[in-house]
């Protein structure tokens, strides 16, 4: 999965369009597939699916290189895929297999690949932002142009860790971007109930950094705003809070009965605001991609996921000895 920096809006090429589409389609297929496979009971632990929010991971990570870092959430598969983690190793990890990205010891909520700049999904709500403050400080001290991006949900944005990180990154002028994926629910609690006010972005004001809002269903809106925020961070301009308004298609976790949502809520969002549908419609009518190219990607992605699931199922389990590896790190 290429994560090379993409040119800004206005210089979009067909190759870029197809790559962005591939990232989003891979995330969608990965999550839809997990939704079906989890129901069989074969997957250990919890999974939290990212379907519906693909435009955010793809739009942000398109501007990041392998040397940049992202810190994710418990809903982390999309961020990992967009940051370039191997899809087969991710699937094996979720199945708890030794061939997994973390040798089957992390599972869905702790998928990490430091070589790809993926600091990990995170079981702790609001756990990512402090990590990217560290990325920012490190880059600043070493004089590199690396950037740290954290993803947080609307629920996570109420955590002290999130607010402390905004302050820390701001006083350090650290090259950080705090992305809030506001999907309207902290687990089962509507954001109208758990937050005073509609926009998380306004919290940036109190910490002396810009806070902006974009439509998280719109790849081009996210891509443009994230591009400017990341460019600003890279060039020493300091941190930005970028709030993306979005909806998730599945429950908080697989098995969530979602009694807190209106019966037709997801169907109407899928029908009218889906990020992939919008993207396809707009790039084809703009003449930047043709349907057969997109269909070909769909087929390739479906094939990739078929073999990822088959290989994950067939992969070896970790053994007793594996419990004692990767416990301590020498540094």
């Amino acid at each position: 999965m290429s994560t090379a920096a993409a040119p800004g809006t206005g210089e979009l090429t067909k190759e870029d369009m197809l790559e962005h589409y591939r990232v989003m389609r891979t995330i969608r297929e990965f999550e839809e597939r997990l939704h079906r496979e989890f129901a069989t009971g074969e997957i250990p632990g919890f999974v939290h699916l990212y379907a519906g929010e693909e435009a955010i991971a793809a739009g942000v990570c398109a501007h990041l290189g392998p040397d940049d870092y992202v810190a994710s959430t418990h809903r982390g598969h999309g961020h990992a895929i967009a940051k370039g983690c191997g899809v087969k190793a991710m699937m094996a990890e979720i199945y708890g297999k030794k061939t997994g990205l973390c040798h089957g010891k992390g599972g869905s909520m702790h998928i990490a690949d430091l070589d790809k700049g993926m600091l990990g999904a995170n079981g702790i709500v609001g756990g990512g932002p402090p990590l990217v403050c560290g990325v920012g400080l490190s880059a600043k001290v070493r004089g590199t142009d690396q950037v740290g991006v954290s993803f947080t949900g609307d629920g996570g944005s109420n955590q002290g860790t999130f607010l402390e990180s905004l302050n820390l990154a701001s006083v350090w002028d650290a090259p950080c971007v705090f992305v809030v994926e506001n999907n309207g629910y902290a687990e089962a609690t509507s954001s109208t109930y758990h937050q005073k006010g509609v926009d998380v972005a306004k919290r940036a004001d109190g910490f002396g950094m810009p806070g902006i809002v974009v439509d998280g269903h719109d790849f081009f809106a996210v891509h443009e705003a994230a591009g400017e925020a990341i460019r600003r961070a890279r060039s020493g301009g300091g941190p930005t809070l970028l709030e993306c308004k979005v909806n998730r298609y599945f429950g908080h976790f697989e098995g969530d009965q979602q009694t807190y949502r209106a019966p037709d809520e997801v169907e109407s969002i899928r029908a009218t605001r889906d990020c992939l549908d919008q993207f396809v419609k707009r790039v084809t009518s703009a003449g930047l991609a043709e349907q057969p190219d997109l269909d070909k990607i769909d087929a390739e992605v479906a094939e990739l996921l078929d073999s990822a699931v088959a290989e994950a199922k067939a992969g070896p389990d970790p053994t007793g000895e594996d419990l004692l590896t990767d416990v301590y790190v020498r540094y």
Binding site: L12, V198, A201, I212, D218, A221, E224, E228
Partner: protein, 334 residues
Amino acid sequence: MPATVGVIANPASGRDIRRLVAGASVFDNAEKGSMVFRAMAGLGEAGVERVLMMPAADGVGAALERQLSGRRGALAEAPFPVLEVLGQASTGTAQDTVAAVREMVARDVAAIVVLGGDGTHRLVAAHCGDIPLLALSTGTNNAFPEMREATVAGLAAGLVATGAAPADGTVVREHGLEVSTNGRRELALVDVAVSTERFVGSRALWKAGSVSELFVAFAGPSAIGLSAIAGILDPVARGEGEALHVRLAPPGEAARTVRVPLAPGLIAPVGVRDHRRIAAGETVALPAAAGCLALDGEREIEHSEADAATVRLVPGPRRIDVDAVMRLTRAAAT
């Protein structure tokens, strides 16, 4: 006569990408609440009995309630309208404004006080019919609404709403630019820009180099934003009944280059190929090119080379001229 006035205070205005790419300000929501409070003081002074307000989240309503319930001394004795917050469900989107304006129209309010930017006013104007608007800016990047002290502005709106001020000469008919494309019609209050940007993206139009043509409904010589280009070339007064059509070119290839305050903190060179006035009602076809049409500085419509689009100057909303109201009513009182 007893009057009811509507209030729309957009809690979400001022959060676009211009905070990253220019020096655009952040307008605090508590200050928006305070502005509504001050406008209510003026409305009450003029005899307005009731205010219908769009539910205002994000601290706007909280700041207003705090000030209303904390009135002491002279403030407690002054007449204030009753505040009725509309019962609509809040979606946190532009639909909230549309729903609130529709309710205000149905309830026959005598005026609507609008706090927001050009975008908020455009939305209100599309649904308010002939109800006079008090247009107040909550930011530094606006052309249609004015930056004004809300107490006196509220007083002026109240005098119009109660009929104490004559409507003649105090409520002016603005013009707008109507864009028609593929059966869709939109009204811009300030300007329409043809941009080569392919996608609406983060909406705000902030790359001047992407604009090939510009239509301006009015532009003062001290305007900021895209309309400032016209304000420099050939200022058009509000209500003049003419628009300006400007064709742009890269500064290196242009007949003339002007330096324009395009956004707060951003003054940049803009190349001008030519410009001409357009009469009200004259229909101008836009060039067939792929890109976006931006209305009042926000990319709204994506179009391809095959999409035909036209622009024409049409009558727009009615706006309360605060200075005129105060001049006429004070002259009558002395």
